[in-house]
């Protein structure tokens, strides 16, 4: 439960930072966490403070548990041969997403077209691998390394995975988003990542799956236009949130179970 409290604290810090910045610049306060309307330097300041708060919470959690952060997080990245789980996860996520996009291309549910200048495209694509790795690592440290690990100490695995996945999905909707129907997709993704952690008791596999997915989604985004129905094919960076995408996540979870779970 300590991790859940720390997550709530993180949200409170994000909201307080935003409130102070809005108040200092004479803008109306709001309940919703959103940087909209703030000048760019203040947005950057807010992001920096939130990043520092996230790092501080990640460091504080093991200390409050009586373990040094190095020992705690080091324990989540075990062994000399285990890093290959990360490659396994990344390859599996890439394979599934490539097949989904391929199916949508053949059935004309997505269309590929170059929407930016080559210079802008190259700049965007160059930033994709490090961004994917960074996003995946931080989110996995927070939601699996800290939250799920802690939930597993207090609850049965089923409840811990349910709560962990729900918290992960809900976190993607703290800020205003364009679409809310993607929630089941985030939930299915949360279940996949939580179970991957549960079965391996390490962060290699969840980080690999997460980073592989983000990598493909971000790399494809500048080229793609969805023409099919959103409920079927998804939209934007959420091909996994359409019906077929959610089913694909279910199958990928089954694959991970066969490789790392009870069947392994």
């Amino acid at each position: 439960m300590l991790a859940l409290l720390l997550l709530v604290l993180l949200v409170a810090i994000m909201w307080s930072t935003q409130t102070i910045l809005l108040w200092a610049t004479g803008r109306p306060l709001r309940l919703r966490i959103s940087l909209a309307g703030l000048p760019r330097p203040l947005k950057l300041l807010s992001r920096t403070i939130n990043g520092c708060a996230l790092a501080a919470i990640l460091l504080t959690f093991p200390i409050l548990r009586g373990v040094s952060p190095v020992d705690y997080y080091g324990g989540l990245f075990p062994g000399l041969t285990r890093p290959r789980e990360m490659l396994h996860g990344a390859a599996a996520a890439t394979l599934y997403l490539a097949l989904v996009y391929l199916a949508w291309t053949v059935t004309d549910n997505v269309r590929f077209q170059i929407r930016h200048s080559w210079g802008r495209l190259i700049r965007r694509l160059a930033g994709v691998p490090p961004t994917a790795l960074l996003i995946a690592t931080f989110e996995e440290l927070l939601f699996r390394g800290m939250l799920l690990s802690d939930l597993l100490r207090s609850f049965t695995p089923a409840i811990a995975v349910g709560v962990g996945a729900a918290a992960f999905a809900a976190a993607h909707y703290l800020r205003p988003v364009k679409r809310y129907w993607t929630f089941p997709g985030h939930l299915a993704l949360g279940v996949l990542l939580c179970l991957s952690f549960l079965w391996t008791r390490a962060l290699w596999l969840p980080i690999g799956l997460h980073a592989g997915g983000v990598l493909v989604l971000m790399a494809v985004r500048p080229f793609i236009r969805y023409t099919g129905p959103a409920w079927l094919a998804g939209a934007s960076i959420f091909p996994y949130a359409g019906l077929v995408g959610v089913l694909a996540l279910g199958l990928l979870t089954l694959n991970m179970w066969l490789s790392f779970g009870g069947a392994a």
């Binding site: 490659l87 599996a92 996009y101 291309t105 929407r115």
Partner: protein, 142 residues
């Protein structure tokens, strides 16, 4: 989207720096209009503006710009029928009725050719990625 001095409800679809820009400016002057400018590639923004009822008149530099957006489903045809904005074409408009059909067919053939090429390239790239990922997975299973 480029916004010049825009008058309410009128949009122009034209490349500001392209060969048709002068003809479109002349057309606007003749019609005594000021308009919001959209690049031909900005059809998503244009479509949104029409769907939201912000545009009552759309002036395309060429018929082909409209047709290309239509073929690529960038325009929501049903919404355009419902809102039914007035549509004009500033230049390159076929003079005779018969020429319209030919112009539409030419545009369709050109778009189809490009679409097939894009589909082939994207299919090849996605297949290569899927095969590489499958290869890695199988290699790791050993």
């Amino acid at each position: 989207m480029n916004t010049q001095t825009c008058s309410a409800n009128v949009a122009v679809v034209c490349d500001r720096h392209g060969g048709d820009a002068a003809a479109v400016q002349t057309y606007l002057q003749q019609q005594q209009l000021q308009a919001e400018w959209y690049e031909p590639g900005d059809s998503d923004d244009l479509d949104r503006a029409v769907r939201e009822g912000r545009l009552r008149r759309v002036i395309f530099a060429r018929l082909d710009h409209f047709l290309t957006a239509l073929w690529s489903r960038s325009l929501t045809a049903q919404a355009w029928l419902t809102v039914s904005p007035q549509m004009d074409f500033a230049c390159g408009v076929p003079a005779e009725d018969r020429a319209w059909a030919a112009a539409i067919l030419r545009s369709w053939v050109r778009w189809q050719r490009g679409h097939r090429r894009r589909q082939t390239v994207s299919g090849l790239i996605l297949s290569a990625i899927a095969l590489a990922a499958a290869f890695i997975l199988l290699a790791l299973e050993r």
